[in-house]
């Protein structure tokens, strides 16, 4: 039990087979250490979102075990959710609410009283939307909605942050802003981050360790420099292509 709780995320033979018969992930053994930023990379359909959804307790695995700080996410999902927060791919917000109301709503599900006020203030600062926060979300751009959703997730300061493609659809400036803020929260508050991305540059910039998923299986995992040396690639893209090539 003490081994399990050492890791922010630990999966053992995690398998997800959908009702259609398609395989989401296959015997996945993944370990994310506390305090690190871990990047899951892989092409579309490789199982990144499936893995993150299972960890975030949105999907149930067909087989295997998943622990978040030692808590079994299948047996005790509510306790696991208290330890983490999740930003889905293409996360949006309620169109009829204002940005400020959305922040208040999402954070009120976790906090009350003074802690809630503090979290709201923090989210407003992160979102940095100025006067637009008092306008209905239906008028927001995709980038504004993404930042708004991210602000509530970060301001909740969970022990584990699960981010599915955090910068997808964002322009260059906003992408850089999001990467910097993720990094800041990881360093300042010791928040463990597990993220998925298509953007290898982003992963190289942000992550301490990465895992390459392909067709539901983890091909390789380790620190970025270690992987480059092990495989002989100049960057992560080359590492990915070489590892994938070895499979074929």
């Amino acid at each position: 039990m003490s081994d399990i709780s050492e890791y922010a995320v630990l999966t053992k033979n995690l398998t997800k087979i959908y009702s259609s018969g398609s395989i989401g992930v296959k015997s996945l053994n993944l370990s994310v250490k506390s305090g690190e930023i871990y990047g899951l990379i892989g092409p579309n359909g490789s199982g990144k979102t499936t893995t993150l959804r299972i960890i975030a307790t949105l999907l149930k695995p067909t087989n295997g075990e998943v622990y978040v700080y030692g808590v079994d996410v299948v047996k005790n999902p509510l306790e696991a959710r208290k330890l983490m927060n999740y930003l889905p791919e293409e996360a949006g917000a309620y169109r009829d609410l204002t940005g400020l109301d959305f922040i208040k709503f999402m954070l009120s599900l976790r906090f009350t009283g003074r802690r809630l006020e503090e979290a709201i203030g923090e989210a407003i600062e992160i979102a940095d939307l100025g006067g637009d926060l008092k306008k209905p979300i239906r008028g927001y751009s995709k980038g504004m909605k993404r930042i708004l959703a991210l602000s509530t997730v970060l301001a909740s300061r969970p022990k584990l942050l699960v981010l599915d493609e955090p910068t997808i659809g964002l322009d260059v400036e906003r992408s850089i802003y999001v990467r910097n803020i993720i990094r800041r929260y990881n360093r300042e508050y010791g928040i463990t981050v597990l993220l998925s991305s298509h953007n290898m540059l982003e992963v190289e910039y942000l992550c301490n360790r990465v895992g390459i998923l392909y067709r539901g299986s983890l091909l390789i995992e380790g620190a970025i420099e270690e992987l480059k040396n092990r495989v002989g690639g100049v960057n992560l893209e080359e590492v990915f292509l070489k590892v994938k090539g070895e499979v074929h």
Binding site: N85, A93, M106, A149
Partner: protein
Amino acid sequence: MTLTPLLIREVKAFIKNPAFILSIVFIIGFYGILGRLMSTGIQTAVEQTLNMQIGVVLYDSSDFAVRVLSVANKTSGGRLQLVPSLEAGLSIYDIVVVIPSDFTIRVMELDKPINIESYIKINTISPVVSGAKTNIITVISDLIRKSISYVIAIERNIDPSLINKHVLMNTTLQVYGKIMKLEEYSTISFLMGFVPMMIAIIMGINAAYASQFTATEKVEKAFEMLLAQPIPRRNIVFAKIIGSIIASLLMGIAYFTGMFLILLSATTSTPNTIGNTTGLSVNIIEIVSGKIGFNALLVSIATIILGLIYSGALGITIGSIVSDERIAGALTAPIIFTFIGIGYALIFIGLPVNIITGVIAGITIAPLPVIALVSTMIGDFTVLTTSLLFAVLSTIVVMGIAIHIYNRDIVVLGLRISRFKLKERK
């Protein structure tokens, strides 16, 4: 023409939506079965009523009265049966006509109308059966009037069409043992059809609201964030049910306020003599309190509350398993039509009120007020208790299903109905 591709796109959006196709198939199938059941029930009821024997109490033993009755009996095909008293008649037949002792005297006096008392026993909630029985009274009244003219014409050797005596039929109904006037029964019959129908519509609208709200939340992409929060999923379901109930209640309050104002001022005057009204007025509120009792009213209110929870949970279940608003929208129509169909079916099929129909009413909820009304009138609450028990149970079950679904993958992945898969299975 830019309209053509736009139109094709719009039509294709519906036709290629599996939920839309399934909805059409479901509506046709459901109403087909319902129609057949109702048709069979109505046909059986009408046939039984048309072949019904009628008891006649003859207090006027004059030769004239006997001859009139004999003519009337022959004309009706022998359906009139002499009985010694009203009580004896009602224990055998559903309709009893009482020929008074002054019948012949009144016939012979030109300025006096002929008053005949008639009694109808109604132990069904089917408006078709009760309507047919009350129509029989009109037929009997006309038959006696014509028989009087015929007998007088024979006696005096004159043309029967020259004789026109007015027969005034004063009808009393024994509805599930409760004595009431025809106009009072008309009001109760209206309520028996109207209240379940209204509850069914409210339930349908509520289910539609709930499914639309839930599907919209999924489309807004905030749903997964919400599911990842440290709150029990059942709380999300409860909040959604209560939310849809509030929305439906606001709509319902506005509607019922209007309806209540109509009921308060609703009076019906019934002509008892030709060209002259008796001034008898029927107030629905008085009838509800006097003949039905406010127990039935309370049950109706409880039914609305249960119905809203039930339909809210059902709508949330549907909204949570569909992938978008379009599919939820396509499923809205069958939800509403199913509730309306159920609301009507039990009444028009003409089933008796017993434990089995009580269970059906409990499971489908909308017909509960009818069960309450009948139970109150007969003074036996066994069926009503069973109905309410099943209504509460079915509501809990539907809520349980909604909570169960919220804890399954389907709430995130959505129900996928693909034509490809259907073909593959063939």
